[in-house]
């Protein structure tokens, strides 16, 4: 579904992605973790070309991202992207936030799009907020709307870029729950997160990245019990027991 082969990316002289090789299969949930500045956000942002790659090849849903003929808007419509800062459209109601792209990009009739939106809002437990504006919602509610907004496009892949990092602790659970439910439906997901509880329960695989290099790729059980790389060991120590 997603295949990175020898992908490199630079920000000026900074080598943010260094020979990344990663294969995400259909229906798989892959968690990407690593210290801040390690390149994990850049990695996930290359998948829908918010960040173009400089070298190597990246194939997503059968489309080659380094091929200039690839219709990037068409590909993006197939990929949901959930941001750390939610990025809801503040001038539109919750319902319109969700129906805008289905109506304008997918040309789905308004009524049908609204029905889909309502059922998605039910799924994320926010149906009573359909006419509210983003500013009237808590962070956790906004993020759940953002997930519903992405799902309304019926995407083949969902990408999450630190979806809970901007949330107050008591709101993290509600968002992770929605993501876990989504994983159960067989959605292909790539999740950048520090939530190791989520990673160990939901992920099929964990990729640990540092300095733009994927140092370790393992099943959650192996990764948590027996991390191979020294940097991964340090990282886990810090995330799992930050006080020591």
């Amino acid at each position: 579904m997603i295949r990175f082969s020898g992908v490199h990316k630079w920000f000026r002289k900074l080598h943010v992605l260094n020979d990344v090789n990663l294969h995400v299969h259909q229906g798989e949930v892959v968690v990407v973790c690593g210290p801040s500045g390690s390149g994990k956000s850049t990695l996930i942002r290359t998948i829908n070309q918010l960040e173009p790659i400089d070298r190597g090849s990246l194939i997503v849903d059968g489309m080659d991202l380094s091929d200039r003929k690839t219709d990037i808007n068409k590909l993006r419509a197939e990929i949901g992207f959930v941001f750390q800062q939610f990025n809801l459209y503040p001038h539109l109601s919750v319902l319109k936030n969700i129906t805008l792209a289905p109506i304008k990009v997918r040309n789905i009739p308004k009524k049908e799009a609204e029905e889909t939106a309502t059922s998605l809002l039910e799924r994320v437990g926010l149906v009573e907020k359909r006419d509210a504006y983003p500013a009237q919602l808590s962070g956790g509610q906004q993020q759940r709307v953002a997930i519903a907004r992405s799902l309304a496009m019926k995407p083949k892949i969902m990408l999450f870029d630190e979806p809970t990092s901007a949330l107050d602790p008591e709101m993290i659970g509600e968002v992770l729950q929605v993501m876990q439910d989504l994983a159960k439906t067989g959605m292909t997901m790539v999740v950048v997160t520090h939530e190791m509880g989520f990673a160990s329960e939901v992920a099929h695989r964990i990729a640990f990245i540092d300095n733009g290099i994927i140092l370790e790729e393992a099943k959650p059980a192996d990764f948590f019990k027996n991390p191979q790389h020294e940097r991964a060991q340090q990282f886990l120590k810090q995330v799992l027991s930050p006080m020591h």
Partner: protein, 235 residues
């Protein structure tokens, strides 16, 4: 020493009143047409200026520097005296049928004002967080569609106050069109003065009409801002 006899009747009735009214109508016409065109052109230039395509960015930049850094009066003269020498015959013939003074005035005012409008639009758009564009692009919207549905509706509220300013400037600047013979308000007030030597009354009347028009524009746009855009809540 102060023995001037005011004669307000000159500008409140009769032939000269009709001149002032006719000038007012022409001022409204030239301003209204130019405001609409300047806004549209300004929008296009602003989008070109921000586009990822380098030649379009450069073209917009050259346009902006040229138009903002030369006097409006020179631009009016350029379009009136100079343009027919560079424009194709078809365009000249078409402009001739329209009322060439008026057309040249509209072109000059439109182009001059559009440069300022473009920069106001650009700074309004830049004030919208770039993540909004990323969210829109991620949903599969093209750059222009993202602008249309996501960025511009949010930016317009920020753009409106400076935009009112440009509309008012344009209306006031339209008085310069008298120099190429557009019979607008200032031109007519000048005519009244020439015929009657009642310059004080004539230009007081013109001043009040300009003031009234400016206030109407400001109130109308503020009304739009308050009652049409406010239901759209910001963050």
């Amino acid at each position: 020493m102060f023995n001037y006899q005011f004669d307000w009747a000159i500008v409140t009735s009769g032939k000269y009143f009709d001149w002032i009214v006719s000038g007012t109508i022409t001022t409204i016409q030239i301003s209204a047409v130019s405001i609409v065109l300047a806004f549209l052109l300004g929008l296009v230039v602003a989008v070109m200026r921000m586009s990822g395509f380098t030649p379009s960015r450069w073209a917009a930049l050259v346009f902006l520097e040229f138009t903002r850094n030369t006097p409006l009066l020179v631009q009016i003269f350029f379009w009136y005296f100079g343009s027919y020498k560079i424009l194709p015959t078809v365009v000249n013939d078409w402009l001739g049928t329209l009322n060439f003074e008026f057309a040249a005035g509209v072109i000059a005012l439109t182009i001059y004002t559009s440069a300022f409008i473009a920069e106001d639009i650009r700074s309004g758009i830049r004030s919208i967080p770039k993540e909004q564009m990323e969210a829109a692009r991620s949903a599969g919207f093209s750059y222009l569609r993202s602008m249309q549905y996501i960025i511009l509706p949010q930016a317009i509220r920020i753009i409106i106050p400076p935009l009112i300013n440009q509309f008012l400037n344009l209306t006031k600047n339209s008085s310069l069109a008298m120099t190429i013979g557009v019979a607008e308000l200032t031109y007519q007030a000048r005519q009244v003065e020439s015929y009657t030597f009642k310059g004080y009354e004539a230009f007081t009347a013109a001043t009040l009409v300009y003031l009234a028009m400016s206030l109407v524009i400001a109130i109308a746009v503020n009304f739009y801002n308050k009652y049409v855009l406010t239901p759209v809540r910001g963050r």
